[in-house]
């Protein structure tokens, strides 16, 4: 579902994997309920 939602609306994805590290670490620490 999430895959089709994200790509079906052609959202922007950063090219650089480094851009995902800090948001990923925050989600890993704090979970998904405060992710906005």
């Amino acid at each position: 579902m999430y895959n089709r939602y994200v790509d079906g609306l052609a959202t922007w994805a950063p090219d650089d994997p480094a851009a995902y590290r800090e948001p990923g670490a925050q989600l890993a620490r704090e979970g998904y309920l405060e992710s906005t």
């Binding site: 579902m1 089709r4 939602y5 790509d7 079906g8 609306l9 052609a10």
Partner: protein
């Protein structure tokens, strides 16, 4: 026969809701926002999108259950639901809904299949950005519900008549009461 031990007598996703109430709550809240809460697309239009995607995914339970809910919103017009599933381009629905169903069909194949011209076509027939957004999310979400229901081999009643009574209740009352319904059904056994 289901792949895991599910409560007997509950069909399709209802058995899964009884099995795992924590996920049932989130899944029913999502269905309520997408299909039943007030919106500029009617509940019938949104249920038809859900039914069409479920039919493209060959999910018997979801296409029959949501087809019955769509028909209930349409005053019992089961033929229109069949027409949309068979060939929506010739069904008696608006050009806007046809354009949104075309987007939903692309999402069912995979999100990257949606082309700018598909979205442009929907806009030309009056679809708003929120309606395009909700169409993509309904289609994406039903790809999830369909895989959830069939990936665990839940039981689907073969007779469409078995879906009508619950469909009327869901059409009237929405999705938020379903987790409680399945818990009380299970407790009554």
């Amino acid at each position: 026969m289901p792949h895991i031990s599910l409560p007997a007598g509950l069909p399709g996703i209802r058995a899964l809701f009884a099995f795992r109430p924590e996920t049932a709550k989130a899944l029913c809240e999502l269905a309520e926002v997408l299909l039943h809460a007030p919106g500029t697309l009617s509940p019938a239009e949104r249920e038809l999108i859900a039914t069409y995607v479920s039919s493209q995914n060959d999910c018997l339970y979801c296409q029959t259950a949501h087809g019955a809910i769509a028909a209930s919103h349409l005053g019992g017009d089961e033929q229109l639901v069949l027409d949309v599933k068979r060939d929506f381009s010739h069904a008696d629905i608006s050009d806007k809904l046809k354009a949104l169903l075309a987007i939903a069909g692309k999402v069912q194949l995979g999100g990257r299949n949606v082309q700018p011209e598909d979205v442009q076509h929907a806009r030309q027939h009056g679809a708003t950005d929120q309606e395009i957004h909700d169409t993509v999310l309904i289609a994406a979400a039903f790809c999830m519900y369909n895989r959830y229901v069939d990936g665990l081999a839940t039981w689907a009643p073969p007779d469409p008549a078995a879906y009508r009574q619950r469909a009327g209740k869901v059409a009237r009352e929405g999705y938020l009461g379903i987790p409680g319904d399945v818990q009380s059904t299970q407790a009554g056994r």
